[in-house]
Symmetry: C2
Amino acid sequence: MVEIERGILAKNDAYAADNRALFARAGITAVNMLSSPGSGKTTLLVATLRALAGARPVAVIEGDQQTANDAERIRATGTPAVQINTGKGCHLDAHMVGHALERLPLPLGGLLFVENVGNLVCPAGFDLGEGRRVVLLSVTEGEDKPLKYPDVFATADLVLITKTDLAPHLDVDWAAMEAALDRVNPRAARLRVSARTGEGLDAWLAWLGEG
Amino acid sequence: MVEIERGILAKNDAYAADNRALFARAGITAVNMLSSPGSGKTTLLVATLRALAGARPVAVIEGDQQTANDAERIRATGTPAVQINTGKGCHLDAHMVGHALERLPLPLGGLLFVENVGNLVCPAGFDLGEGRRVVLLSVTEGEDKPLKYPDVFATADLVLITKTDLAPHLDVDWAAMEAALDRVNPRAARLRVSARTGEGLDAWLAWLGEG
């Protein structure tokens, strides 16, 4: 099984290198977004696209086991989006992303958001060719998630703590959350955001180079 | 890959049959609990164990990629618990559960809770030998999760809508949630619970045969 896994990852890495070369040629910043199901990836993306308001070219690739709901929500903002359904699969891979890119107007000199399947385990090992990796953690999920699912948090360039508007209704132990992140990934930037109230959106746009 | 997958599932099913035979001999009701990370499985279990208060023998098997946090939270209630760490794996399998059973005092004539790895994709296809399967969906996760992750919801005997205490702070579309569940699993029982306020706990205990 380990050998099969290594083979799959080696194949994926080759496709990821192709995607990365394409992004470099086209001046595209590709952002791979990962989290649990329901952490607010699509809602944050919709708020982000509205805030960008066409300032630079943007496109979105959406991953889900089933449905095209998320791509439809993105398209409603006027942004081109392609939905990938993974069926029995629990993550996107670089090959799927390469095919999706053929069906999208490339956002030359702009941003490509790739919203991965909602999953804190499987997507961690699969490089999609992205330039930046963002992991979302909703305040409702509990402070210990980085410790329980360390692989995905360890690969993040940025950890976005989402749904901060709900924090007053929870017993969020911020110190425990920060300590958990320190332990698995002291290097990653961290921002607290709420797509509902707009808290932290400016800092998130600045991190994307759009501030 | 499909053949390898079939082979893995066939092997798992054989171990699951062994577990199921053991549960039958020992009069154990085994409950497999599945959800996203952070939907409140452990918190609900802790509230459940406190409510049962030793009325019948109970034991717990905890699954996580890393840490023994959850087994420790369970043991603090006085209930025996074994932690399984899946490492790179995204679900428990029947073989792991069989080994964990060797390390637990069997709850003869009682209840065994198996808390699966937080994941809405991978655990769906793996029978652990359980008698009942419960899928949790937190109100914070969004109404469309059953449509996006249909496999896991389709196998549920009961869907527990959790964290209902947070509903007043969200825009939960209950009709959309019910419609999504109707579409993927019209047969499953449904209960709304809050471990924080105690809402629905009596109905949950009654469903377990402990009301």
